[in-house]
């Protein structure tokens, strides 16, 4: 296939298969959220928005999801960093990437007891999230360390008189953070949208934002379905803003 045709065909396919579904979905969501497609509303209305935004549910859900995500990424980052500096065998740790959220949720659900299932602090949710995220971050940190030549930089620090601990504080962690902060933010965003773990292990209130949206969508009520779309749109706007900020700020690291 001539390069000319392929250089148009593949991007077109990418747009069709990846971008268009999201764009069309957002279009439909907007129609529902503003009453154009709703069975219970009569044309354009902001009633659904005021109904949703004036309830505390969505704000508590967003806050809860953000806290859940920060805790998971923070704890997993600490564990992955510890694994890197203690030189754990990454080939074995990487195998834990085969454990998905579904299985992590099930394991914590079955073995966690009252401490970790539907507990008020979300400890079970945290444990399950760390189970799937820490191994992935360990591999990511190891790859990043290799890519930047971290060992040589650590040697350079030691020759300037830095002890092991000082080296990790002034060089190891800042170098990794500098290189991976965009990835960590993306992971934070991804885990804020976590579904199966809070679905199984979370309490009925506050719900994670994805669980809230799913429950509103899945109820056999024509009133709550448009509310689900409002929640989806609010979530996407917030995530989109964070993503755009991070994209601009980390242009050089992604080059």
């Amino acid at each position: 296939m001539r390069r000319g045709l392929a250089s148009v065909l593949f991007p077109a396919l990418f747009v069709m298969l990846v971008v268009v579904p999201i764009v069309v979905g957002v279009f439909v969501a907007v129609r529902y959220a503003f009453g154009w497609a709703s069975v219970t509303e009569d044309g354009f209305t902001l009633a659904i928005w005021t109904r949703v935004l004036l309830q505390p549910d969505i704000w508590w859900s967003l806050a809860w999801s953000a806290v859940m995500s920060l805790a998971a990424v923070g704890a997993s980052t600490a564990l992955a960093f510890a694994a890197l500096i203690t030189k754990l065998d990454t080939r074995w740790v990487a195998l834990l990437m085969a454990v998905p959220g579904t299985v992590a949720a099930f394991l914590v659900f079955h073995f966690g007891g009252a401490w970790l299932v539907k507990d008020p602090w979300g400890a079970g949710i945290l444990v399950a999230h760390v189970l799937i995220l820490a191994p992935f971050l360990t591999v990511l940190f190891t790859q990043a360390a290799q890519a930047v030549g971290l060992r040589a930089l650590q040697d350079a620090a030691r020759m300037c008189g830095a002890t092991g601990r000082t080296t990790h504080r002034l060089v190891t962690w800042p170098v990794l953070w500098h290189r991976l902060r965009f990835h960590l933010l993306l992971l934070g965003i991804a885990f804020a949208g976590s579904f199966e773990i809070p679905l199984l292990l979370g309490r009925s209130w506050p719900e994670a934002v994805s669980v809230l949206a799913y429950n509103r969508f899945s109820r056999f009520s024509l009133e709550t379905r448009p509310e689900a779309f409002v929640i989806v749109l609010v979530y996407m706007v917030l995530v989109g803003l964070l993503f755009a900020m991070a994209w601009r700020k980390t242009r050089t690291e992604r080059a």
Partner: protein, 240 residues
Amino acid sequence: MIAEGIRKAFRTASGEEAVLQGVSFALAPTDHVAILGASGSGKTTLLRILAGLERADAGRISLDDDDITDWPPERRRVVYMPQDALLFPHLSALENVLFPLRVQGISDADARERARPLMARLGLDAHAGKRPDALSGGQRQRVAFGRAILASPRVLLLDEPFGALDHAARSEMQSVFLDVVVEQSLATLFVTHDPGEALRIGTRWGHLAAGVLHLFHDREAFVTADRTGIPQERSFWASI
């Protein structure tokens, strides 16, 4: 610095390969020893052992009457500068230079005040705020050099640090280096594969080949020794 009987071998697929075979030398406080050696002669391994980044299989290293053979790098105050400047990518040029002062616990304000004159001396004033990836090769080497100086080394080990620079930048760097090390009264051990650089930088000379170090008693002996390749090069230029 005194090195006695340094030996090092590496295990390879075909057995053990001796990289250093009983290397010995003495470095006085203001000596600048230039060691000539081709690739694979053991130069880098020798410097890394002296800096404490690798362990020798046998031998002893002492510095100012201290036996530092088993000392970790952060304790030795022997700074090793490789060809790759190895600047910290998350720090600016100025922050890289004053890094050793931060390690010593000196306050940010004091550290910047101490680093500024050296930055000016090295022609880095205008580049102080730039990250390493925005600096040229020559600028990166100057930053690495400034960082090494502020680590207050007793000995500075340089592993072809100007090898990646073009002729003009290299010449300039050699001048800056000479001025600063003389000013700071630093002992240096400098390895290179360029005889001209060795002659320009050094006050004493050696040749490392197949893990064996041969030291010359004076400059004349160095330039007339066949093993260095200098006589052959002189003949070549003379014939043009």
